[in-house]
Symmetry: C2
Subunit: 401 residues, 2 copies
Amino acid sequence: MSLSLSCYRCGERYDDGTRVRCDCGEPLWVDTEPTAFSWGDCRDRGGMWRYEALLPVDRPEGVARAAGGTPLVRSPGLDDAAGARVFVKDEGENPTGAYKDRGSAVAVPHTVATGDDVVGTVSYGNMAISTAAHAASLDRECVVFVPERTSSVRLELIAQYEPTIVQVAGDYGKLYGDALDLSEHLPIDVLVSDAPTRISGYKTALFEIYESLSPAAPDVIALPVSSGGFASGVWLGIRDLERAGLIAEPPRLCLVQTATADPLTRAFEAGETDPTPLSPDETGDTIAHSIGNPDPPSGARALAAVRDTNGAVVSVTDDEIRTAQRRFAVDAGFCVEPASATTLAGVSRLADRGDIAADESVVLVPTGTGFKEMGTGEAEVTTETVRRDALRDQLESLLAP
Amino acid sequence: MSLSLSCYRCGERYDDGTRVRCDCGEPLWVDTEPTAFSWGDCRDRGGMWRYEALLPVDRPEGVARAAGGTPLVRSPGLDDAAGARVFVKDEGENPTGAYKDRGSAVAVPHTVATGDDVVGTVSYGNMAISTAAHAASLDRECVVFVPERTSSVRLELIAQYEPTIVQVAGDYGKLYGDALDLSEHLPIDVLVSDAPTRISGYKTALFEIYESLSPAAPDVIALPVSSGGFASGVWLGIRDLERAGLIAEPPRLCLVQTATADPLTRAFEAGETDPTPLSPDETGDTIAHSIGNPDPPSGARALAAVRDTNGAVVSVTDDEIRTAQRRFAVDAGFCVEPASATTLAGVSRLADRGDIAADESVVLVPTGTGFKEMGTGEAEVTTETVRRDALRDQLESLLAP
């Protein structure tokens, strides 16, 4: 299945189903024909396949049909913490608990429809889980490349779908390039974080945000950023709707990084087009495992998205992330992973410095559920213990104002 | 807010917002006026609030709006294991990862709209998590009653929303009755498993199944059964659609229990109307923590639902549950909790004994995600370890047919 690919930067076009990057070095994405698109072209069904007209594959069977269609919820309880009018787009409500399913729902079926290649991916987190699940659903072999010494907890989450798990000894950060090489020379299609078909899937999150809010539109959309793939997809969605005449002014894309690995924030603040990869001594540990990429392959494209939409990139600390994660739960009822909690922390920073006004509508996109990482049993929990026969009496005093 | 409640068994009616059980002893549910309902009356929005016309509260703000609207997916990979044509209704794609959110989305806002009562619940699992999340979203105090010695893992999942957690020393199985007493005498509304407002929320799962499959209809709907609350809600949904003239023949409700605590299977097989509570020496441990209720408060109603729809109740062993859980992941890409995997195991049993035919459409309802309980790090995982510079060579042999 050949795809019409193009480069956001130099405009070069390719007619190729497997290519990932342009000769100029930048990542490609899939062109569709959105000029003729209107909301009335949406298919009458739930989930991301409402937008089949703007996707490069036909709606597949299986778990791919369960991807997307996540709720967008006004969450006034978060307004104070954010400093703006908050909507939450809960991407945790995907089949494997993360927005990655939108990408896998397009990318994996595309690989399966194209030939006999084994499906692969480079991840030890949400993308690994999602890719393995979608490959399993289509009965296609899957190989997941993880770093050596990946925790047994992560391995268990991935292994349930029974892919082949390869622990790679050596510089895992270089595996993006290796993956493109493997895809070219072996009967495997390694679906990296910014594989063009994945990016197509991600744009459906943007479509859903606009369709849900219509006729209103968001002022700001806040995403965590790691590889830059999701930001690219959301930007592609904005461009599609702009070309279709459905967006007058784009939402400001605000991308949030963890302060321990923030090449995009650094480049944004320095006014640079291309991020400089961080060396190991420039990065540190973070609770936001899902992000923190020192050399994001779609980093320059994510920066272009931010500048094109008059947005921003901002970094937040682990303390800010912990506070924000607690606010999501306690003030809004959402269990989000630390990487997702960055969105609230980042918007709060931007509001503090006057980049977002209190009456503006901000869509926070928690990209993954917190349930995968919780329940370690290590948190301190305070409880009361009451004998059953004393319950009424003791509860009475407990409930007294 | 007064509700019109009725008893499925004796037909008695009550005009009362807080009552849970009829004078005859059976649980109540909320009457609505479905005779005038048609699919065209659905609101044009995602999630369970499409069916606001059939719900006893107006659409609330916050996380309640994110409940329901889960995907229904044809999963041919499970046909062989089930012995029928399988559809999966993935209730794990709810804000707290379980169908309980449908109930909490109605019950908690009802309590909040009715007065100043604190919200309570009796659970140390999915219902506790869900109730605490929905109370947090509406900024209402919440008290969760858990058994003594609840695991720290469970406590952590509940505690994230910061309810008051009360560990009850004594016979936890008796807490259902205590809860009704507390609700009557103290400023707390303990939303038990079959609180009438919860049951109203659950019926939206049935509406979604029918609307998704329309104009086709399922032959069988398979649910795990514990308290009988969810089965009651699905039955109420069937009755609503029957009264509206939208269902010609009801789907057969098949309820699945764990063999270590199966009072409903025993009653069903003995042809009894009311289940006999099991004594401690008649029950045992199971991996299906979320079910296994020796004295289900809506047990008789669940049995009535099964008989009314010409369905069945069946028990499955932990070994069958493990196999079914693996099949959900490996053949369909869904991560479901053990209690949810019972649906596949149960249907397989019913198909084996000829109660379900191979060409019948069966909707399995995994009621909760498996992600909350996974990642213990205890599973055995097989991996290959490969040096990065040998990746291409070694992968080549790995991929060789």
